[in-house]
Structures are given as C-alpha cells and as structure tokens.
Symmetry: C2
Subunit: 232 residues, 2 copies
DNA sequence: CGGTAGGTTGATTGAGATCAATGGCCGTGG
DNA sequence: CCACGGCCATTGATCTCAATCAACCTACCG
C-alpha cells in the first residue's frame, strides 16, 4: 500500500502539463492523503497497460512518454485508434461499454502513467467544480483530433498529423522540432496509409524543404507551406 | 419567456429515447419549472442550427429528425464531421474552444431539437449524479463512432457505416429496415469516398443480395455477410 | 557476428477518383 | 396541366494515386 503514497510528488516536472496538476498540487500542499492517483506505473516499451475487453475501472493520466490504443482485426492486423501523449488522459472511451474497447501499450522507454479509479474521479469532480470543467473541456478537445484521416490525399493527412502532433507536444522549444514517438507503420495505420506511402511522403516533404526528417526526429522548416498542404 | 414553458411535455413519444428523458419526466412530475431545456426549436430541412465559430453556449438534444455538422475548406468544399440522430446530444465538441468548430444544419423535414444551456447542464449535473454518469457515458460512446473511416476498402467503410446507423436508429422494428437521412454525397464525404463510389457500392451490395436499396430506404438482407464485409 | 525490426526506394497493379452522360423526382411557374 | 430546371442518383470510360510486391539498407541487440 505504500504505492498509494501519501506524499505524491505533484511537483515533478512532467506533471506541469497534466490536467490534474492543480488538483494534485492542492492535495499535496494540504498534506491530504492523495486520493485521486491510485498508483503510478512505469512502463517499458511495448508493455501492455491494459487489454481490449478488460473490465473498465481506471482512467490514466500520461505523466511521461506515450501510449497507443489499438485493436486486432480478424486477419490479425493491428488497427490504431489513438495516440496519447504526456499530459493527456486516456480511458474515457471505455465508460459507456464498461470495458476497454482497445488495448493500450507503451510506445516509449520512459512511459509513466498515473492510474486513477474512475469512481474516485467522479467523486473528486463533485467536490471540485473546476476539475469538472477541465475534464469536460479535455474530452471535448479529443473530438477535434484526427479529423483529417479522411482527407483525399495522403500528403494532406500526414501534414495535418504532423501539425497536430506539434501542437500536442506543446513544443516548449517553439523551434518546431520534435520526436515522433511512433513508427512509420503506426502512422500509416492511424492515417489509413501504407507504411511505404508514409515513408515516401516524408522523403518528398524533405526534398521540398518543408520539413527535415532523420529517423524519428522531425523539424518543420516551412510551417505555412505545411499548413497549406494540410488544407489541400 | 413563455417559450421556456413550465409544462414541457416530457411524455412526447420522441423523448423516450432521449438521454434526458428520466430527468425531464422527473421535473415534469414534480411540477418543477423546467430549468434544463431552455427552448425547443423546429428546423426545416437545411436550416442552420448554428454556424461554425459561433460562440458556444448550448448543448442540443435531438428530439426528432437528424442534424449534421460540417466545415467548409478553402476550396469551398464541405467536410462532414458527424451525423447526429434522434435521441442523441450534440455540441460537446465546442466546450474546449468555447465556440462551435463546425456548422450544424438540419437534415430532415421533422427535425426538432431541445436547446440546453451548457451552464444549466453543469448545474443540473451537480444535483443529479445519475445524469452525470449518463452524460459521460454518452460522450464516451461517441469516441467509438466512425472508427471505420480509414478502413482500407470502400466497401468496408460503407458496410460499417450502415451497421452503425442501424444500431443508432435503434430499429424499433428489428426488421433491419431504415431510412438514410443523408444523401450519397454526404455519406461519401463522411467516409472519404466519392459520391459515385458510394452509389456503385450500394448497387453491388444489392446485386449480391446483402442489402436492398431504394432511394434512401435500406433493408439489410444478410446481416452476417454485411458484418463479414465490414471486418474485411 | 548474424538476426531482426524499422525504414527507404523501385516497379507494377489496382481500387477508387474523376470526367461525362443519363434518368428520375420534385417543386416552380408558365 | 405540362414544361422546365435543379438536385440526386446511377452508370460507363478513363486516369491517377496509393497499395502491393520486392529488394535493399541501416541500426540495434543478443
């Protein structure tokens, strides 16, 4: 039970972008036992957070790293549902059915998540109207992600994807450089494109001096052009 | 102010599938002034419910008919975001930004919506824990809609779309017959397909005795086959 | 070292976009 | 009443973009 530590370090730098930061900080300052975060989990790359059809009981806040949710179709092929990045929360899509509709695995060496019992979260919401607004706001934002996956051209999808990623990674550095946390195959899968197509488009965008790519390092060289491409 | 009638007829047959039914019924029985539904609106086909970028203040419950949300791109082409059917609620995607990210128009001759102030809804949620669960559950369900729009083959997308529609129209008749509330163009737009492709696939599915189509009337003849196709 | 996973590049193929023409339906107006 | 135009749907012909198949390269790891 020591895991549910009463001295949860809400001041960890990775927490600063978390939606629950204020809440945790408040609890920590008041020396209240931490009731919201049930436990923290450190995940190795490709380590499963939960499986498709597991009974739903937890929401997870990604403290560091990244997590992807996916399902396996009848032919054994993977279908990616969403990527969750540091500072985001995941698990809400399981509320309705009472079980997780997808499996979730870590995509990074330093993934760390805070496990939050959904029931506790509901209680917390009742005593913290602010938290309620924040959570609804966050959920609302999710509806506006990935709207480009049906764009008519592959390059539009990829450009939009990169722009969204850059936003969500809230590039502290403002220099428009970031590291993809997923493989080309994952990107293609998410965007409804073949791996080879993703690779070719990266090459083309680089040739045209719109981005530079080296492995998973991406740098946006011409933001406006990229936006233009994303729009078609 | 008579619009905010205190004798809102919660017993209207169209209300029975509404998420807020119990809540409204309760309020009606207690002879409480109806605080949740701010006003009701009757919409003609193609009548605008709200415009993209309008300030967000209302959630809408679709009492009858159907509504689509869409945006217009730089070339003037329409991009459909979602279809909302009778019994569903819409507007949550605007919470985060504080304005509607899409325009919403009626798709049916008998569209009727209940306008609910978001602030009132938040208040109501606080006094009705049940309502809170229901709303989060509904929002959660939304995340599981439209997951098929990146399926590799057009026929998979359309099959999945039809299956989802049939579910959501909660076919009272269980005879798997329903009426599409949208044009072929809307379907194609939503699924990332050309109108002609949608039409051709309908024809093929009919030829193969999997569905029968006549204008916007669709009847599922071979549910299992359709499911099989949807999976690939 | 060799093995494997991830990534790139080229050649070929195919599904669906696009272009074009036609027919049905409906509301409008002569 | 019918004629007309607009919208929607269907069908055919052609073209194009991205999938597929295949080879190769690189980095990483036991």
């Amino acid at each position: 039970m020591l895991e549910n530590t009463s001295t949860y370090n809400a001041l960890h730098p990775n927490c600063q972008h978390c939606m629950l930061y204020c809440f945790c900080l408040q609890a920590a300052n008041a020396n209240k036992p931490q009731t919201l975060v049930h436990k923290k989990r450190q995940l190795k790359p490709k380590e499963l957070l939960y499986s498709c059809r597991d009974k739903f009981s937890n929401i997870y806040a990604i403290k560091a790293g990244a997590v992807k949710t996916f399902g396996i179709d009848m032919e054994g092929k993977e279908h990616i549902h969403h990527f969750y990045l540091a500072g985001e929360m995941m698990g809400f899509e399981a509320v309705h059915a009472g079980c997780y509709p997808f499996s979730a695995i870590s995509m990074s060496a330093e993934t760390e998540v805070c496990e939050i019992r959904y029931e506790h979260l509901l209680e917390a919401i009742f005593s913290h109207p602010d938290l309620h607004r924040k959570i609804l706001s966050f959920i609302s934002q999710r509806f506006n992600f990935g709207l480009y996956v049906t764009a008519p051209h592959a390059v539009q999808r990829l450009a939009s994807f990169l722009l969204e990623l850059e936003q969500r990674l809230h590039a502290e550095t403002s220099c428009s450089e970031f590291t993809l946390c997923m493989s080309r195959q994952d990107i293609g899968n998410y965007l409804g494109l073949a791996t080879e197509t993703v690779s070719r488009i990266f090459t083309r965008l680089q040739r045209d001096r719109i981005i530079s790519v080296s492995n998973r390092k991406v740098k946006v060289l011409a933001l406006e052009k990229l936006r233009w491409i994303a729009q078609g």
